[in-house]
């Protein structure tokens, strides 16, 4: 805990808070200023928009501690504000609100439009207000209210000031007021006792077995193909050894050997600052006649409270050249929870493409190692998917040359 002091609606306001407390919670929970509303809490709906250093800011994605000594104005502080007074009258007249949940944020953003834009068209007003969502009015009344206030002010000879009249400083609004500590080093605030180690978390009990729902259809499907320089029989046999297949997939590991085509395990994926660890189960089936197989799995990431279900199909067939094998993979998945809210399908595909590229390299290395007479437990070469696997061409080239030298292959 640490003391954060802001200037709220003209008066100093301080509270002992955790560093993770955002500005909206600071205002509502420690100052009882409940006029600032919280809607989506991730910067999309605009209900929490307030003024920081005189300019509109999302208070749900701005930490209070990052605004130390900044000037904050909430809707409660706009009682005597000239533009806000005109807007309140116009919102009443034009039916610019019904339930009122979005209104504090609307007033703050509308005030900014009135101050900055000289003669905006209706379209320009709608674009400028598009970061504030209203589920009651259909926006018509809100836009009309803003148009009315602008028209009246311009008629009275009050011009807009492009860029607003408040901000002169550079950098994020709210920053730069706090003095650095005397020795010029970091001001560091400890809020957490030594974090309980994540390792202590026991493997989650697997989610319900996927085999019951035969008619489940994935939300997104895409296909990938790759060629390995080994005979079909070898590759097909390899795919039957689930534990080894899993060890080729960066970040994946099994809880044990499969029983009756049923296996439990986990996969850790790291993309930029995001890391997820899916614990789950899978049913594995193979058809010798057509040399095709399916992996039907589901898993949960406890950290982000996200879940995924996936259906992977693969077909193993001879490649164009003798001694080569072509593997066609179709990946279908449905992602739910927080990760789904964030992840766009293209990003997932980019990550899956990188995972498969790493998988193929590991598979090649493993097959070469085994056919070269090595034991089955050769360590996989890429163990985690991260930035390293993106700088791939250089590193993978080196790995390939290493194996080529080791086994006399080209």
């Amino acid at each position: 805990m640490n003391t954060v002091t802001l200037k709220v609606n003209g008066k100093p306001a301080s509270a002992d808070i955790e560093a993770r407390m955002h500005l909206a919670d600071f205002l509502r929970d420690t100052q009882n200023l409940t006029g600032t509303h919280i809607g989506c809490e991730h910067g999309v709906c605009g209900a929490c928009t307030i003024l920081v250093d005189g300019v509109p800011t999302r208070s749900c994605i701005t930490f209070a501690v990052a605004c130390e000594q900044a000037e904050v104005t909430t809707v409660e502080g706009l009682d005597a504000d000239e533009v806000a007074t005109e807007l309140r009258a116009a919102f009443s007249k034009e039916h610019g609100l019904q339930c009122g949940y979005c209104t504090p944020g609307m007033i703050v953003s509308a005030r900014d439009v009135v101050l900055r834009m000289q003669e905006p068209t209706e379209h320009e007003i709608r674009v400028a207000m598009s970061g504030n969502l209203c589920r009651c009015t259909g926006y018509v009344g809100i836009v009309r209210a803003i148009q009315g206030v602008i028209a009246a002010r311009r008629a009275r000879g009050i011009a807009a000031i492009p860029g607003g009249d408040h901000r002169k400083a550079l950098g994020p609004a709210g920053s730069g007021h706090a003095t650095a500590s005397a020795n010029g080093t970091a001001t560091r605030i400890r809020t957490s006792p030594a974090a309980p180690a994540l390792a202590a978390a026991t493997p989650a009990k697997a989610a319900a077995a996927p085999r019951q729902e035969a008619d489940w259809k994935p939300q997104t499907t895409f296909t990938e193909s790759f060629v390995v320089g080994h005979p079909v029989d070898e590759v097909w046999a390899f795919f039957d050894r689930i534990g080894e297949v899993a060890s080729c997939l960066p970040g994946a590991s099994l809880a044990g050997e499969p029983v009756d085509g049923h296996v439990e395990g986990q996969i850790r994926i790291k993309v930029g600052p995001i890391s997820a660890e899916f614990q789950g189960v899978a049913d594995v089936s193979r058809d010798e006649a057509t040399r095709t197989g399916t992996i039907n799995g589901s898993g949960k990431d406890k950290r982000s409270n996200s879940a995924t279900r996936g259906l992977i199909g693969y077909a193993v067939k001879p490649g164009d050249k003798p001694g080569e094998t072509r593997v066609d993979v179709s990946i279908g998945y449905t992602l739910t929870g927080v990760l789904a809210q964030f992840g766009r399908s293209g990003l997932v595909q980019d990550v899956a493409g990188r995972l498969i590229a790493a998988f193929v390299k590991n598979l090649e290395a493993k097959l070469s190692h085994q056919s070269g007479g090595g034991d089955a437990e050769a360590p996989p070469v890429i163990t985690e998917l991260d930035a390293g696997s993106l700088v791939s061409s250089v590193i993978l080239g080196r790995i390939k040359r290493f194996f080529a030298a080791l086994f006399g292959r080209r």
Binding site: P172, G176, G184, S192, D350
Partner: protein, 279 residues
């Protein structure tokens, strides 16, 4: 929707920030304006042990005007550029693009350096700064290094940061008097991340002709000598010399397999060229 509990540090200068980054026993995350990181923290997609707030560091908000380029710190905001508190040297390109990023309340805190480092392929800065030929300077234990902005993005959400490094500044060249640029992003609603971005710069005095295809779900496709796509820049109407066939081929060669995606990106580029601005 509350972040995990983390420690917070507000270093006084870049040196102090780098010292905090050096501790590799902790998950340390740098935050500038927090407009991309904030939502990820709230959703607990990111769970750092220590958050290093660099928004107060003076050096990162400085602007240096040199004869043929301008250098601004990583913590300059979208609104600083939109409102021209940072002088424009790009014949309106950067202020115009800044004006279309997310929403004003986000632009008042979101920073150029933060956007580039977050490395979302659909973000605006990576595409327009690649088009104008900007560079970024990174500082770490081994000192400074400066690279082209398009090389800073390795892939979706992955920036080229070595251990202990951070982005400190962006360098933008001053465009020639007859330079023309264009930028178009395809969005279904305002403020959302783009589905396709097209951008170009034609600066015949400096012999520069660049085309960028952005929002590809990975790093942008940058054609550094784009004369075969948009001519030598002396034509009065660039859209008349634009070769959409060659553009489609360049996009396919860069690995975009889906024909609809390719078409969307070619159209974004054509619209960017149709809207050529000469300021």
């Amino acid at each position: 929707m509350k972040p995990v509990n983390f420690d917070y540090a507000r270093p006084a200068d870049v040196g102090a920030a780098l010292a905090l980054l050096a501790d590799d026993t902790l998950a340390v995350k740098i935050m500038a304006g927090g407009q991309s990181l904030g939502p990820m923290l709230n959703m607990r997609l990111v769970q750092p042990d220590l958050l290093v707030d660099i928004a107060g560091i003076e050096e990162l908000k400085q602007v240096t005007d040199r004869p043929d380029e301008i250098v601004f710190g990583a913590c300059i905001t979208h609104a600083d550029i939109e409102d021209r508190r940072v002088p424009d040297v790009t014949r309106g390109a950067l202020p115009s693009v800044a004006n279309g990023i997310a929403y004003r309340a986000v632009r008042n805190r979101g920073t150029v350096g933060g956007s580039l480092t977050h490395a979302d392929p659909s973000a605006d800065w990576i595409s327009i700064l690649s088009a104008v030929g900007a560079r970024v300077t990174l500082r770490g234990p081994a000192g400074n290094r400066t690279i082209a902005v398009e090389d800073y993005m390795l892939g979706a959400l992955e920036a080229d940061l070595r251990p202990g490094e951070m982005l400190v500044s962006v360098t933008v060249p001053k465009l020639g008097r007859s330079a023309r640029w264009g930028y178009y992003k395809s969005c279904r609603k305002t403020g959302e991340f783009a589905h396709a971005i097209g951008a170009f710069l034609s600066d015949p005095e400096r012999g520069v002709s660049r085309v960028v295809i952005g929002a590809t779900e990975s790093r942008p496709i940058v054609v550094t000598d784009a004369q075969h796509l948009i001519g030598d820049g002396r034509a009065e109407r660039l859209d008349r010399v634009f070769d959409s066939h060659a553009a489609a081929e360049a996009i396919a060669a860069a690995g975009m397999a889906d024909p609809i995606d390719r078409q969307t990106h070619v159209v974004a580029l054509r619209r960017a060229i149709e809207r050529a601005y000469s300021a």
